[in-house]
Amino acid sequence: MKIEKHKTSSPHFLGVDLGSAFTKFTVCDAGGKIVHQNLIKTLNIRSRSLKDSVERIYGQFSIKSCCATGYGRSKFEPAQIIKTEINCAAEACLALRPKEKCIIDIGGEDIKIIHCDEAGKVESFYLNSKCAAGTGAFLSEIAERAEIDLTQMSVLAEQSASEREINSFCTVFAKTEIMGWLFDDVPQQDIARGIYAAIINRVNSLRIDSAGPVFLIGGVAANHPFFNNLLRKSLGKEVFVPQKSEFIVSFGAALMAKKYDDKTKRD
């Protein structure tokens, strides 16, 4: 990848989160202030749009260093450093609130629970590695089977007073279960709510024992406010959903890039 560098004189730092569904870019200035964010579909990773995004960013900003994260992190050539999305999420949330906390990150194909200490360091974490239960893929696949428009799903669920839940954690079997609901003429509002409730159940089966608040980040939090409220009720805790929560990990990566630059200067 050919990169044109240093268009502006003030130093900037790039974080790139190559997730399973979307690749997110965040640029920060030297004070950690976000100056640019954009996302593209990860499927386009080999196509023009990745190159366009990178060239545009490097054309516009004087990028001193870049940190790649997410499942495709090792494949992003311009990166000087590579960090996992768990540590990037912790770094970003530390900048937002330097306190003990628990981060719940629901992404396209995974769900992560990250416990951070007061210094923002990762104390322990959970990442699903057996199946996609409770992830964005679970939500979108089942919504698709029920012919629910994802952009309308949160609004639909709000209109439901149903307590009905999908029992199966398995995405494929949950789709079968939804077939039964469709045959029973369950209204779409109740189906939408039932799908969210299934993800809440999944989250509830994981350890969330931090004394501090919960930070909810990732694509599901960004696009499904009803889910966020349901989680608040279910945990009985403060749940912060940062603005543009799908960019939090790339923001953390940009901060990591800055840290790296500071360290290289020191050394």
């Binding site: 996992t84 768990i86 540590n87 995974d110 360091k121 990762v122 990442l127 057996k130």
Partner: protein, 406 residues
């Protein structure tokens, strides 16, 4: 220059000779479980074959996945031990790497099957499959399980069980039991196992000259050749090489950013990939419960039955949670471990120790962080590579951060 253990070439020859001897069938052949009474069998002149070693071979050559379905069709669930299912499947499919790698005709026909349920009940069913197929005699040791401490009554019980199999061994081997021969084999086994212990302990040095992944390769002789002169000679040679490497400051990772412990079974089909992953991240995996499982320091040729009974009953896998904790604590201290990787093997709950709260106990009592990797010894369908790599790399970053690396 890349770090290499030169003795590996000797190891390969040793393993080849061992399998060729099995193929030649000059001696009667006994099958034995990996922590079964191999010394007693050798004292009767049996050549000894270990199906678990075959299971590991199927895993390492990634041929387990194509064989497991044959065992499932035969009624064995895909959720039980994948050594068992891949081995039975390979037998049914008549497809084994023993043919291509060691020139055997197939899985060698047993004259006698002897198991010890000190590790799990699965081995009993596994061996019974072959007892039926080959119409072969079978005997088992059934020690008390999951012991907190080993008391005299337990030793007495297991000793009696060892003695009970003598008539069958005499009948199949055509040899009378010879106490001196048993003492001699046990003495050889004892020397080999203590040398193996010293080999593993070289990894207490930093940089360590032996990784957990190297250990899984070099443990071959202590599993299949214990009680022979070859095993003892091999470990003496390997130990000398590793000690020279320590003296010269050579290790598999020159700059260890952290030292890790592998708990549970190896993921045989991913050994190389995992070994590379840790090294790329400057993390040294220096010790494991798995490789330490073949240290039988209770062996004493003066009391061959009693000491065998003790040695094979006090192994890690046969202990209570509290006893396991104490053993882990000792290894963590001795090897200066910064973190533990628990491998939760889907088809071997017997050797997966993250399920009864051990990770939390290590954290709370010793301050040792850990992660749990979902996977399996042989069945790679239970292993998600992307997620596991992220877990491992995050864990290493977490430890490095705690040690003030960026």
């Amino acid at each position: 220059m890349a770090y290499k253990i030169k003795s590996t070439s000797v190891l390969k020859e040793l393993m080849r000779d061992y399998f060729q001897r099995i193929g030649q069938r000059e001696k009667p052949l006994a099958w034995c479980t990996s922590v079964g009474p191999a010394e007693l069998l050798r004292s009767f002149g049996f050549e000894v074959y270990f199906p678990e070693n075959h299971g590991a071979l199927l895993g390492a050559t990634r041929t387990a996945g194509s064989n497991i379905p044959a065992a499932m069709k035969c009624g064995y669930s895909g959720d039980i031990c994948s050594y068992t299912t891949s081995d039975i499947g390979a037998f049914l499919n008549q497809s084994t790497p023993l043919k291509t790698q060691y020139g055997l005709d197939g899985i060698p026909r047993p004259d006698l099957l002897v198991y010890n349920t000190n590790q799990c009940r699965e081995v009993e069913d596994w061996f019974h499959f072959y007892a039926d197929r080959f119409n072969c005699s079978i005997a088992g040791i059934h020690p008390p399980r999951h012991l907190h401490s080993i008391r005299a009554a337990e030793i007495e019980l297991v000793t009696a069980q060892f003695k009970r199999i003598l008539p069958l061994c005499e009948q199949i081997s055509g040899q009378k039991f010879d106490l001196d021969a048993f003492r001699e084999v046990l003495q050889l086994s004892s020397e080999a196992t203590l040398l193996w212990q010293q080999v593993l302990r070289t990894a207490m040095a930093s940089p360590a000259p032996l990784s957990f992944f190297d250990g899984t390769i070099h443990m071959g002789p202590i599993v299949v050749l214990r009680g022979t002169v070859e095993a003892k000679t091999y470990y003496a040679e390997l130990l000398q090489e590793l000690q020279e490497n320590i003296a010269a400051g050579r290790g598999f990772l020159q700059q260890e950013s952290c030292r890790l412990f592998w708990e549970g079974m190896p993921i045989w089909g991913k050994l190389r990939a995992l070994s590379d992953l840790f090294v790329q991240n400057d993390a040294a995996v220096v010790a494991s419960t798995y490789c330490n499982s073949w240290i039988f320091d209770a062996f004493n040729e003066k009391e061959p039955f009693e000491s065998s009974a003790r040695a094979y009953t006090e192994i890690f896998i046969n202990r209570s949670e509290q006893a396991k904790f104490t053993m882990l604590q000792k290894w963590i201290e001795d090897y200066r471990i910064d973190g533990v990787i628990f491998h939760d093997a889907k088809t071997c709950f017997n050797n997966s120790n993250a399920r009864f709260g051990m990770p939390l106990r290590l954290k709370n009592k010793l301050g040792i962080p850990s992660i749990t990797i979902d996977g399996d010894l042989c069945d790679l369908r239970f292993y998600s590579e992307g997620q596991s790599i992220t877990k491992i790399e995050t864990f290493i970053e977490q430890i490095q951060n705690q040690k003030s690396f960026i």
